[in-house]
């Protein structure tokens, strides 16, 4: 029999026939490796995920009227939208703003496509319900506070035609006649923590009915799932004499900063977990060496040089490291998948390269953790430990 074969036979016997002790170390390594491979998997997948995810923080592109005098119609918007690939367009929402009055307070009313806001503004938090018909409106929280409004309350919304052009000759009577009113109930209060809370929202048709005319679209928000370059490309493609497209900068830059922070976090968490793994393996190995002092003494009495003792314990440790790394790769993938499914709602690719990398890191961490305990094994004096008691 070859010497190497006996070596393997000894260290595997030690691992498999003395399971309980080694199981603790194996578990520690496997958990460390799980966190390592899991976080790295998530980390590499996150930019892709974040692309879709960041769109959840609002639209990343706007269509604005190219000129103030030339109202933009829905057809113009759709013309621009047609330049964007169908599978990349998550949604678009047109907005038309008019000043109305409730209880003599001037308030901005936005006519929009309520269903579409769910796609382009998924972060909207609504106390109550989205409006479902033309008798309802969504009320920004700030407005609700001014009006002391609650979900279910009804208000008379007044719109004055040509309010700005009101000429001096017109009497109050005439002005009153120009007013149109609608009674709308509050289906829900909108909370965003931003400017949206200063508006009330209805369906576009409600605003058109109130004003009695088809006004121009003041703004369309678009959510497009593509890279930064892709967005720039669309910027030039969708521009026309009617529409001036713009990118929403806030999202683009925060995407990058979130990624950097995430990278730091992954690095930090992984280092901490690997350090903990190392401590746990070192502790276990120290206990193992103490537990096996007699055996070490015996091996030395049989003529084992220190190098052999080191090799055997390191061999056990490294085998454990490799095995723990392998186990951790599998569990890490499961972990990453679970996180991805639950946080990002999408599956994740298995990166085969991560298996050898995780195993190598596990072996390295185990080797480092074993150095001190294994060196202490060579200090064993066979004459003392083998003495009868």
């Amino acid at each position: 029999m070859k010497k190497q074969k006996m070596f393997l036979r000894m260290i595997t016997a030690s691992l498999f026939r003395r399971r309980s002790r080694m199981l603790v170390a194996l578990l520690a390594i496997a958990i460390g490796a799980t966190i390592l491979s899991g976080l790295v998997t998530i980390y590499y997948d996150v930019p892709r995920q974040m692309g879709a995810q960041m769109r959840n923080y609002g639209a990343n592109m706007l269509f604005l009227p190219a000129s103030n005098d030339d109202p933009v119609t829905m057809e113009d918007i759709k013309e621009g939208i047609s330049k964007i690939k169908k599978d990349e367009l998550i949604g678009f929402t047109p907005y038309r703003y008019e000043t109305v009055r409730i209880n003599e307070q001037p308030i901005m009313l936005a006519g929009t496509d309520i269903e579409a806001t769910k796609l382009t503004s998924p972060y909207w938090h609504i106390e109550g319900e989205y409006p479902t018909d033309s008798t309802q409106m969504l009320m920004g929280k700030e407005i609700a506070q001014i009006l002391d409004a609650k979900t279910g309350d009804s208000f008379t919304v007044t719109y004055s035609k040509e309010v700005t052009d009101l000429s001096k000759e017109q009497t109050d009577e005439q002005a009153k006649n120009a007013d149109s009113t609608l009674s709308l109930s509050v289906s829900g209060i909108l909370e965003t923590g931003g400017n949206e809370e200063k508006y009330i929202y209805t369906d576009m048709s409600v605003l058109n009915e109130l004003t009695g005319e088809l006004g121009g679209i003041d703004l369309a928000e678009l959510s497009v799932n593509t890279s930064a370059e892709g967005l720039k490309d669309y910027l030039s493609k969708t521009a026309s004499d009617k529409i001036a497209p713009k990118l929403v900068k806030k999202v683009a830059s925060s995407e990058a900063s979130v990624l950097t922070k995430l990278q730091a976090l992954v690095f930090l968490v992984t280092s901490v977990v690997l350090a903990l793994t190392m401590v746990c393996v070192a502790t276990t190995m120290t206990a193992v060496v103490t537990e096996r002092r007699k055996e070490i003494g015996l091996r030395k009495a049989l003529g084992a040089p220190n190098s052999s003792i080191i090799l055997e314990f390191m061999g056990e440790g490294l085998l454990l490291g490799g095995f723990g790394g392998l186990l951790g790769s599998a569990m890490g993938y499961a972990f990453a998948r679970y996180v991805s499914m639950n946080v990002f709602n999408s599956s994740i690719d298995f990166k085969i390269l991560l298996v050898p990398v995780t195993m190598a890191v596990s072996v390295l961490v185990t080797a480092l953790a074993c150095i001190l305990p294994v060196r202490s094994a060579t200090d064993v004096d066979p004459a003392i430990v083998l003495k009868g008691e």
């Binding site: 006996m6 055996e295 091996r299 049989l302």
Partner: protein
């Protein structure tokens, strides 16, 4: 030239002389028993002869070489090449089978040879227990595995410190029989024992007291 010559050795622990100016000669093929009360220095003597310890004073010449001042590294090599150890507590590796325990000694000495290890187990009557773990063996069986392990590399000297201390009468007799056979085959044996029955089968018994050789008894061949 004697196989082993111990010249005026002393082992001193602080104010205690565990061995006090002891001299001793062992020829090839000798069977020596060492007796004496507890604390008289028997194990200390065995450790020095077995290259596990060094005397404070004096010389130990094994196979023509003074091993009393060797480095621990070369002592390791001497143990590996020349010494076979048998312990009162057997000291088998508990996660290895009987056969593997014998092969461990081969592994450090030269190369493991399963067939040869099996033959050694046969010599001590344990061929059918080869695949058992120590916990599955009786004390007597464990001691015989320990003996097989001590024999496997054909050592110059077999040292046994209280080999029957943990065994009952039947197993003790079995071990004595194995020693007889080893002696007949020409092995050199040094056996520390409390048991007069184990001592009297040896050719010669020396009695230690307070680290000194108190007397020597030549046993008649039975």
């Amino acid at each position: 030239m004697s196989l082993l010559e111990v010249k005026n050795i002393s082992k001193i622990y602080g104010s205690l002389k565990a061995l006090d100016n002891v001299s001793l000669k062992v020829e090839k093929g000798d069977w020596l028993a060492i007796m004496g009360p507890s604390g008289s220095g028997k194990s200390t003597m065995m450790n020095i002869i077995g290259a596990m310890d060094k005397p404070t004073l004096g010389q130990v010449i094994l196979d023509g070489k003074d091993i009393s001042k060797e480095s621990s590294k070369s002592l390791t090599q001497i143990r590996r090449d020349k010494i076979g150890l048998i312990f009162q507590q057997f000291h088998l590796v508990n996660y290895l089978t009987a056969l593997e325990n014998v092969m461990v000694a081969q592994y450090y000495h030269s190369i493991p040879d399963e067939k040869e290890a099996m033959e050694a187990l046969e010599r001590v009557g344990l061929a059918d227990r080869a695949k058992h773990l120590p916990a599955q063996l009786s004390g007597g069986e464990q001691q015989r595995v320990c003996i097989a392990r001590a024999l496997i590399n054909y050592p110059e000297i077999i040292l046994a410190d209280e080999p029957t201390g943990n065994l009952d009468e039947a197993n003790e007799n079995m071990v004595i029989d194995i020693f007889r056979q080893l002696h007949k085959d020409g092995s050199t044996l040094i056996v520390v024992t409390h048991d007069p029955e184990v001592a009297e089968v040896a050719q010669k018994t020396i009695v230690l007291e307070h680290g000194k050789v108190a007397r020597e008894v030549i046993n008649n061949e039975k």
